[in-house]
Symmetry: C2
Subunit: 321 residues, 2 copies
Amino acid sequence: MTGRVKGMKEKIIIGVDLGGTFIKFGIFSEKGKMLEQWKVPTKEKNNKEAVMRAIAQEAMQHMEACGYTLEKLQGIGIGVPGSVNRHGRIIHAPNLGWSMVDFEKEMQVFLPVPLFVGNDANVAALGEQFFGSGKGCDSLVFVTLGTGVGGGVIVNQHLVTGCFGGAGEIGHMVIDPKETVTCTCGNKGCLEQYASATGIVNIAKNKLNATDIPSLLRQKEAITAKEVFDAVKEQDALAMEVAEAFGQTLGHALALVASVVDPDMFVIGGGVSAAGDILLDYIEKYYRVYAFSPSKQTPFKIASLGNDAGIFGAARMVMLG
Amino acid sequence: MTGRVKGMKEKIIIGVDLGGTFIKFGIFSEKGKMLEQWKVPTKEKNNKEAVMRAIAQEAMQHMEACGYTLEKLQGIGIGVPGSVNRHGRIIHAPNLGWSMVDFEKEMQVFLPVPLFVGNDANVAALGEQFFGSGKGCDSLVFVTLGTGVGGGVIVNQHLVTGCFGGAGEIGHMVIDPKETVTCTCGNKGCLEQYASATGIVNIAKNKLNATDIPSLLRQKEAITAKEVFDAVKEQDALAMEVAEAFGQTLGHALALVASVVDPDMFVIGGGVSAAGDILLDYIEKYYRVYAFSPSKQTPFKIASLGNDAGIFGAARMVMLG
């Protein structure tokens, strides 16, 4: 517990980040100050009714335990791990096994308050823009490098939600049309296949198998993206080749993104971003090669909210109304 | 002359499309009904003061001749052939030879009324969205295929102007990083090198030189993009190969764009679009291969405003304020 709302006239907001493993919650003041945060395991994740009921009960109980009544609740924002169209309908959430769920509408049965739903990475982008590394930027593109690659696009302080649920799906930009391996999405050559934690490990394994270059990575049993970038920091030649390949693909992809929305800033988050500024060196090097001249100097930053970006962004959705 | 404003209380708007050859003007009602339109040659185009003065004088004189006073003028919107940043500053306009011109500010000296300036293709996108093929769409991506390839991105009925002047610069997305020929922008492998009228002709010439495939195009002295698509309609095998290459590159690029902003619709304009729906067949075929699943069915339309899109969009900028 990090504080209490001053003056009981103020409304509160609940931000929720629905993940396949945990559901994270935050209670915020109406101006976006975080007052409480907690998380619970995602039980029966394939059962959408059970999940929706759990979110509603958890939010209500915790709110009441903290001394807030339903009348004080301005609204709830929820980030979900899937594509969401502009009507708050989940088109497909592979990690939950959900398809075509009218989430905003169905959730109203369990929680009759103003409700805003968005794709988790899109929502995290909103969090980073308003509360994190993008503070003060009107527009930014957020990229999250984890098991997969997600993204979110903010223009004039608002999320670009898109029409069919595909906005900010930077991980599924087909960067190499000649790729023969299929991505989880069914296409071939998606950015996610090269720039996710999984992708980085795959590039490393392929290089280890295909060459005799000595490398610290040869001593590891199971390589992780973190170990690749740790080895880069040790000037490991093979790891540096992996980082170049990663940087070239992601830098190229983000230059393509800049030709569409020309943001104030790129913010890089997700587990892989723990590698820090060295990651940006590799991305920026290639971004500046491929970007169209007016956008060549766009700044890059590492995300600052970590795993909390989702609940912050969910609260921000409610603030924007 | 197509009409008069009913009731003299209504304000009028002037939309201007500044091109390297002509300056086009339109007088519109405050609701966007076109009342007059005309054009004049662009004289002394490298002399920015002369051009600005000409725009101001032409607008004022014509307005007065039509019986409108300056008090009636709500504002002027101007599309310019170059990159414009969010403060109305022209970063670079190669066709005019202008760089770093504070257009909105400098133009105020000649025309002290509310003034809005944007990149010409961006502005045309706004025209197509509000008055043309995109009527009723909240968001769209407009692509103009002419000597070059331009574009504009509309989200929630507003133009994405971007931060540094690179938004909607779809023609300068690097689609083939392995290209060795340099684009006019200095990069290599830009969409414009393959999907512009010039690019289509280049693909055709390369195929004519590299193969012995019989073709109607072999009889032409100087091939144009129109002749390539005319030959496609005659089932000319070589021309159809050119159309496939064109469709693959542009379809792929627009799938990348959809992963960023996921628009309601794509609208294809510019001189090349005179080929009609057959053009869309080739673009859509490859778009649907490369697009991320939620956006695979995004509709495509040919632009409907032709050369008037610019003045309509310029007027719309003023309407949006």
